[in-house]
């Protein structure tokens, strides 16, 4: 067992535990904290794959900006402990079935794949950043610009909604 594999399993376990805890926690802030753990663990996994730039951006954008906003809103609304309703039977039975089906599907795919699971070699070169920027600004420049436009529309929409409430 190489050191990289050990790190992989630790990070993977951390991500899964965080994800489960996200659902099980009763307080929104605790759930948000669990989600941050998932984000950081994922960033660690990217780093393990040699994608340094993606790992850093994952933490800056998801771990930092977006989750801070989540925590900020939860704090601002002072959301309390969530109320628990009894789970409806309609949702329970098919849900369980779906969980089993999905787990079986994933397990089957893993079992079928011939390649052994291992950490990719750590290339870690500046080319990865260069490659990403080439893809965004050359190959996929129109989808990229369209996404930016979409975000701009969303920002304008939010501004309009906030303005209307004021008057």
């Amino acid at each position: 067992m190489t050191a990289a594999l050990v790190v992989f399993f630790v990070l993977a376990a951390l991500a899964v535990i965080g994800a489960v805890s996200l659902i099980l926690q009763k307080h929104p802030i605790h759930s948000a904290l669990s989600l941050i753990v998932v984000m950081v663990a994922l960033a660690g996994l990217y780093l393990l794959l040699g994608a340094e730039f993606v790992a850093a951006v994952q933490i800056i954008v998801y771990g930092g900006a977006i989750m801070v906003l989540f925590v900020f809103v939860i704090m601002l609304l002072n959301a309390g402990v969530e109320e628990h309703t009894s789970i409806s039977k309609m949702a329970g039975a098919p849900g369980l079935l779906l969980v089993v089906a999905l787990a079986g599907f994933v397990a089957a795919t893993i079992a079928k794949s011939t390649e052994s699971v291992q950490a990719a070699p750590q290339t870690g070169e500046i080319a990865s950043t260069l490659g990403i920027s080439n893809m965004i600004f050359k190959d996929f420049v129109y989808p990229f610009e369209l996404t930016s436009f979409l975000i701009l529309v969303a920002v304008l929409g939010a501004t309009v909604l906030a303005q209307r409430e004021k008057s």
Partner: protein, 409 residues
């Protein structure tokens, strides 16, 4: 034992380096509080700490002991887990960021191993991004402390600080883009080396001249990120008692305190590296006589401390100060006598001097500027700093593009 050492040499070296850097950073932190109190005191025509030890030099030690032995109550109704997590998070993230700073280009050769100054290897390609990632996470320490205390003043402080940090993080990141464009790398070492393309220009080759706008935005945003005066609204004592750390006492409070001072050091490091040439000397490379500047500063300073010590009021001071002075002057003498050592300390000397200057600016601002009002703070961040830093990026890109196109050098 020796077999273990030889197979895991890199690991052992790193652990020793971490321990050493931790010790140095925490000591510097402690004396930064002394320095701040002294400087602010003299700005306000006071003496500052002078009772504990000669010139109050043992004051940080007394403060530390006080922090350790104070009663540490946990207020009722706090969210226990988050309440304990917050100071840990703040301190751990602040200390981690120092690990990414390179302090010199050349390794020390010890026991057949090249030991570089700084914990992270010099070829970390995402150096500056990793630092921003750690800064981005740093908000949680303050925000969670405010929320978990279950008290209104900390909550308001925590809210203010999260809003402030989100707002200024944008300007902070955008203002660095100009430097990154000029260096073509995220690597801190390559950013410094990009400023040494013309060794004869010395100080005029640094990024601060073409990036003066970027530097302004970066420094202001960085001060806001570290919650220091004039952006210390999260702990505005006239409105919020002590802001987010109102409910923290004893060592948990000290942890926030240390985290704040450590971030000050990180920001000073970043300012020197990104805009002021890092470990580069401000003089042209051919002026080799400037290599004796460290000695020229240390020896007179050491002699002055000796002289000051002999006429000091207390016997303790009359013993300690001349001793410290001898060590300082002796260090200066060693640099003169051993040219190898002198060459080696040039880079760390300049980097540390620049860090010291920025730390002084921090303290200077605290002694000078009044606090912003909250709406002014938000307007300043969004309406001035962010557009300015975006303009800086656009102008820098166009200049670089023009140089590439027309080949002007």
């Amino acid at each position: 034992m020796t077999a273990f050492l030889s197979t895991n040499a890199e690991l052992v070296i790193t652990v020793v380096k971490i321990a050493l850097l931790l010790f140095i950073v925490l000591t510097v932190n402690a004396y930064l509080t002394w320095f701040e109190r002294k400087v602010v005191a003299h700005m306000q025509s006071r003496w500052g700490p002078h009772r504990v030890g000669p010139h109050g030099l043992l004051q940080p030690l007394a403060d530390g002991v006080k922090f350790l032995f104070k009663e540490d109550p946990t207020p009722a109704g706090v969210d226990k887990f988050v309440y304990y997590l917050a100071p840990l998070l703040a301190l751990a993230l602040a200390l981690t960021s120092i690990a990414l700073i390179p302090f010199g280009p050349d390794p020390i050769r010890l026991f057949n191993h090249d030991i570089y100054l700084g914990i992270a290897p010099l070829d970390v390609n995402i150096g500056i991004l990793a630092l921003f990632a750690i800064t981005a996470m740093g908000v949680y320490g303050v925000a969670l402390a405010g929320w978990s205390s279950n008290s209104k003043y900390p909550l308001l402080g925590g809210l203010r600080s999260s809003a402030q940090m989100i707002s200024y993080e944008l300007a902070l990141t955008m203002s660095v883009v100009g430097v990154l464009l000029m260096a073509g790398s995220f690597n801190l070492k390559q950013i410094i080396e990009a400023q040494a393309h013309h060794p004869e220009r010395g100080i005029f080759g640094w990024n601060v001249w073409p990036q003066i706008l970027g530097f302004f935005c970066f420094f202001v945003a960085a001060v806001a990120e570290t919650n220091r005066v004039p952006f210390d609204l999260p702990e505005a004592e006239s409105e919020l008692v002590a802001g987010f750390h109102t409910e923290y006492a004893s060592f948990k409070f000290a942890m926030f305190f240390i985290a704040e001072y450590t971030s000050m050091i990180t920001v000073s490091c970043l300012c020197s590296i990104l805009f002021f040439g890092g470990w580069l000397s401000p003089f042209p490379a051919s002026w080799t006589f400037t290599h004796y500047l460290p000695s020229a500063i240390l020896i007179p300073f050491g002699l002055w401390v000796i002289w000051d010590g002999f006429r000091y009021e207390t016997i303790f001071g009359r013993l300690i100060l001349p001793g410290a002075g001898t060590v300082i002057a002796g260090l200066g003498a060693v640099f003169v006598l051993f040219p190898n050592v002198n060459e080696f300390i040039q880079a760390p000397f300049w980097l540390l001097s620049k860090i010291f200057v920025f730390l002084f600016v921090y303290v200077w601002m605290r002694g000078t500027l009044p606090r912003f009002r909250y709406d002014q703070l938000m307007a300043f961040g969004w309406k001035l700093l962010l557009p300015l830093s975006i303009v800086n990026v656009i102008v820098t890109s166009f200049v670089i593009l023009a140089r590439m196109t027309w080949g002007a050098k």
